[in-house]
Amino acid sequence: MCGAQDFHVPDSAVAGDEATISTQGGGKAILYLVGPGVSRKSEVTLGEDVRLAPQELRNAGDYLAILCSGTCHGENFYVTAAMPASLTFLVHPSRVPVAQGDAVSGVAFPFDKYHNLALAPENISFQLTTKDASLWSRASRTQNGVAWFRTASGKSAGPVQVTASLGDLTSHRALQQVASDPCNLGISGQRTRSGILVQTGPVHDCAGNPVSDGTIVTFTETGANGTDTVDAPIKQGIARAQLEAPGAVSISVASGVVMGNEIHVGAQP
């Protein structure tokens, strides 16, 4: 008969390390090892140590050793994650308007080389950098195997590198900061033979970044014949449109929720 005193499982084991189950007594027995990714059945000689190979203990978790010699008895032990060997780093969004509060967030999980979540607290440094300067940085300690941050986007449009570092481990993500909504949207207009040519000045956001080409600008003319609207995309920093308005009109401009100035153009002579 095999009792609780007849074999001993490791007090603690680390993923990917070798471990030993010691047995007592004499004769043959069957040893079962059941754990994440492993299901082993082997004949053992009581009184000898049983080696558990590193590849049998790659996955962190709960393992159960069962020794059967007449009757069966089971003992469980835990395998914990090894040292962090990689960082899983999620960053959102991939494109962000400049100067937006809490617009960028990131989450980092340290994993060991066997892809077990490393749950021991670790210090992770987060950093946002452009090619010229560091925009922001913060150290955060993992809790339950995760560290995270949330911060505002920078003031300048362009690529930003987001980095998470844990000791020698570094994980990079890229995001693109783009201009925010237009600011001080201004238009000018002049009558031509075929109507009124109206155009904006160079369109910038409030931080001075050129608003992306393709952004829609809406021109609205109001005259004796009613109201008419023309949408035009920004091309090379400027939006322009041709309005057919023989009479005197007022023309206003808007882009998204941003309103610009209003101009008045007299009737065709």
């Binding site: 059941v34 994440p36 709960d62």
Partner: protein, 180 residues
Amino acid sequence: MSPTIKGTAHPRFAAALAALFCLVLIPTINLNAADAAVQVQLDIKKAGPRDVESLTERGILRDYRFAWTSMAQALEFNTFDPLEGAFSGDAKQWLRQTVVSQQQSGLSQRYLDQNHQLEAVFYAPEGDVMELHDTAQYQLQIRDGDKTIHDEHVVVHYVVLMTPGSDRWVIRQLQAVPQF
């Protein structure tokens, strides 16, 4: 005449229908019965930094229960199919390894009377990953062929990472720990 047709064809039709019922519906009924045996309670009070919306809470409950039902089936019958859809990444990989290893050793596991006290401890700002702690209780049976070699009521603590898939939450990491 129709009575003659009924007298000969209907029993065959009924037999075919019964066979179809057995083939198609009984596994579904078994899965549902097994699913009903998995009790899951979810506490979202400690989740953050993002709040857990009620729809997400219901989705987690539904999909976590389904995942454990699937895992129990896979490890009892040593088949991969139940793992599809409910698991992903490393969790799916080690579960498949376990099934392969059990097929070789002739062992199987049964998870009976499952009860899971699930607590959301982290929900990412953008909602793309959630970490949960599960205090699971179940009757664990280890079988070597038809012989039960171990039968024990266990309490196991699991650290779980779930991510949203196209139509459900999937388990990417399922790692037992001595305590939280």
